[in-house]
């Protein structure tokens, strides 16, 4: 029993990080029908910003979190403006290749500044509660709570505010949205800011949970979050959250029963099977593409 609760907590921690990153992929896809393959590397930048904040500026948790979120959000907006926007009318493949290029740039730029792996000092006091065999840390609780709060805020923004409505309208029909008086470019910037900001927050939390960070840490995590978004139904906000938690659960479950080298292989196989039965993902709908 304790064991199940313990594993559930582990799955929630991992899943909430995947979910936060998956949101960035799904939001950008929803509004531009493009996969931002640099997103995993923006997650990595979030972890490094946290490292800089903690090591050089001796910031505490909240200021470091704000720096990670705002720093990556700003970077996301700049990348959209200078790398993706000029390609909006170009074939999708061009934008995707550009995104891969931006990702490689971010990895190597970070590598140039940090040739060796870095260690993020603990920003959350090392408090652990133990009940029998069950033990969980303050950090774990904070990661899960904070992720859930961020997701609830996002869900509210997208469903209830004018900006969220505008995002959904643009994702339905980009050509009509301007006729409603919506400043489409500003909404696209806002989408990038929110999506990459959440990725930056995830990077910081991941870096605190697994404190040794390197410039390539975003590649595998990014792929997994991308798969989470696809499993949930790419373009669908709640789908990305569900997909992230599913992937977290599958990984923890597989690790509990198989040797650890099997983890990714079994997890990806399961997801591929799921996609055979639900090619549009769990919440995705085959959306009739409009002219």
């Amino acid at each position: 029993m304790f064991y199940i609760i313990q594993q559930t907590l582990n799955a929630l921690q991992l899943g909430s990080i995947y979910a936060l990153i998956a949101l960035g992929y799904t939001m950008v896809y929803g509004i531009l029908t493009m996969i931002n393959f640099a997103h995993g590397d923006l997650f990595m930048v979030g972890a490094f910003l946290c490292f800089v904040a903690a090591t050089f500026f001796h910031m505490s948790f909240i200021p470091a979190l704000l720096l990670s979120i705002l720093g990556t959000a700003l970077l996301g907006v700049v990348i959209e403006k200078f790398a993706y926007k000029p390609l909006r009318q170009a074939p999708r493949v061009s934008a995707i290749i550009t995104a891969l290029g931006v990702g490689i740039f971010l990895e190597n730029f970070t590598l140039a500044l940090n040739p060796y792996p870095r260690f993020i000092p603990p920003l959350v006091c090392n408090l652990t509660w133990t009940f029998g065999e069950l033990s969980f840390s303050l950090l774990q609780v904070m990661i899960i709570t904070l992720s859930v709060i961020l997701m609830l805020l996002l869900d509210f923004t997208v469903r209830r505010t004018m900006v969220g409505m505008a995002m959904r309208a643009i994702s339905w029909d980009k050509s009509v949205a301007p006729l409603m008086g919506i400043p489409v470019n500003r909404i696209i910037s806002a989408t990038f800011a929110i999506g990459t900001g959440l990725g930056g927050a995830a990077g910081m939390m991941y870096g605190l949970a697994y404190p040794v960070i390197d410039p390539y840490m975003g590649i595998m995590v990014g792929w997994k979050a991308f798969i989470s978004a696809v499993v949930g139904g790419i373009g669908n906000i709640r789908g990305a959250m569900i997909g992230g938690f599913i992937l977290g659960a599958v990984e923890i479950l597989v690790a509990a029963f198989f040797p650890s080298t099997y983890r990714d292989f079994v997890a990806f196989a399961l997801l591929l099977v799921l996609l055979i039965f639900r090619p549009h993902g769990i919440l995705g709908k085959p959306h009739a593409q409009k002219v």
């Binding site: 409505m165 301007p178 006729l179 008086g181």
Partner: protein, 237 residues
């Protein structure tokens, strides 16, 4: 007597090296219903898209003394131009209410927005019954009403309508035109693009006939409706 309202001079539009509209000039006075009729491909939608800033053009467009050249679409909306596009442009994933509220993006008067929402829902009881439904589940006629409702919510002073009768049963077309006359009676100026020329010419005070990107004929609605050339070309049989 009134100052110029919408004055379009030598408007030309091209897509790549295909020229779609060539040196078209026309004007719409405040309070009028003016129609632009022409066959499929004549350039009607292109003209409306240029007026609302969606596509680049050459020539000048003056709206109430403001030059619309190079102005982004959201600013043109803020000036009071409401464009109901061809195919109505309903956001199928947004509810009826959300579609209506979104059209108030440029407005700052919360009380006015609430009053206008009540007015739209009273004018279109079908929309009121379906206000929580996704726009995509509405019938064609309901979508056209929603599109008109959105134009009202944006407080458009000039209404650009692109083939509002397209794909609608005659009884619904009559409903739509009745609403248009009502809006016009309340002070909305209307530029109406139609292939369904007869209905448009009966409603409009003046009309222009467009043929492959040029204006070939102009006159009062009644004159054009009776003109044998128009009869032959657009009213069929």
């Amino acid at each position: 007597m009134s100052r110029p309202y919408l004055v379009v001079s030598e408007l030309s539009i091209s897509y790549g090296n295909i020229s779609a509209v060539r040196k078209v000039s026309f004007r719409v006075d405040e309070g009028e219903i003016v129609t632009l009729i022409g066959a499929n491909g004549a350039g009607k939608s292109s003209i409306l898209r240029a007026l609302s800033g969606l596509i680049p053009f050459s020539g000048t467009v003056m709206f109430r003394g403001t030059d619309l050249g190079n102005m982004p679409p959201d600013r043109i909306v803020a000036l009071g131009v409401a464009h109901v596009p061809e195919g109505r442009g309903i956001f199928g994933n947004l509810s009826v209410l959300e579609n209506l509220r979104l059209a108030t993006w440029q407005r700052k008067d919360g009380d006015g927005v609430r009053r206008d929402l009540d007015r739209v829902l009273a004018l279109f009881p079908r929309l009121n019954e379906r206000k929580e439904q996704p726009g995509g589940t509405l019938s064609g006629g309901e979508q056209q009403m929603l599109a008109l409702g959105r134009a009202m919510m944006s407080r458009g002073n000039l209404l650009l309508l692109d083939e509002p009768s397209m794909g609608l049963a005659p009884v619904l077309v009559r409903d739509i035109f009745r609403v248009l006359r009502e809006l016009n009676g309340e002070g909305t100026t209307i530029l109406l693009v139609e292939q369904n020329a007869h209905m448009a010419l009966q409603t409009a005070s003046r009309g222009y006939v467009l043929e492959t990107g040029r204006i070939v004929l102009t006159g009062t609605g009644r004159e054009l409706d009776a003109d044998p050339r128009v009869k032959e070309a657009y009213l069929g049989k």
